[in-house]
Point group: C2
């Protein structure tokens, strides 16, 4: 099976990337936003395990490869202009490297940001001390 | 009231932009992904009406200014790295310029994309024929 029809519908940017929103499929929680290149989308569709492209590391990033907190793909959606993806996923454990369930744990309150969620797991337990 | 503490926590990219996810606050629907610059975030916080930066038009874009389908801000959240925003909004009508409730109406089915939602409003009724 080839996914070329899907991949060709995606408008990757000048750097070859597209933003991807990960949403927990059953609760609706928006977990994180990350980036994918064509290879990451193809691998995710082929394996059913979400693979992003890490801009900081400059390479494919199989979510959970270090932390064990992987994401199973339930459904991939493409927006009207093809320049954003919505991934419905099943998140194992926590999505955020801080140990929180999702990355959007700071909310505007008055003129400052307030933390509205606490870590569920110590990041040292996910990544070790080194 | 100044929102500098919030604005300074956002890591705008080299073009001065940050991706913003709009999610309907009560149903959890992910409506769209768009972009904001510092001025758009500041205006949104000040007015409570969501203002994006249109990359295609190169100017501020007050959501609904043409279509009447505006978004009221319920809460603005910033992610762990400061390089993505989650806007909890109350969407008036439809979010997508195609007349659909949200922009993510194409889903991968096998090796192709299938439309999983139909327009609720004729786009010509939103934008006119010209």
């Amino acid at each position: 099976m080839t996914n070329d029809a899907i991949l060709d519908a995606i408008a990757f940017d000048a750097a070859g990337l597209v933003p991807a929103i990960a949403q927990q499929h059953d609760t609706g929680e928006v977990l994180m936003l990350a980036w994918m290149n064509r290879e990451a989308v193809a691998e995710t569709l082929a394996t059913g395990r979400v693979c992003y492209f890490s801009r900081s590391r400059g390479r494919l990033w199989r979510k959970g490869e270090s932390s064990g907190q992987d994401q199973r793909l339930v459904e991939l959606r493409v927006d009207c202009d093809g320049d954003a993806l919505l991934l419905l996923v099943d998140q194992h454990g926590v999505a955020c490297h801080t140990g929180r369930r999702d990355c959007f744990f700071r909310a505007a309150r008055g003129d400052a940001l307030a933390e509205i969620a606490a870590p569920l797991i110590n990041p040292e337990a996910l990544y070790g001390r080194g």
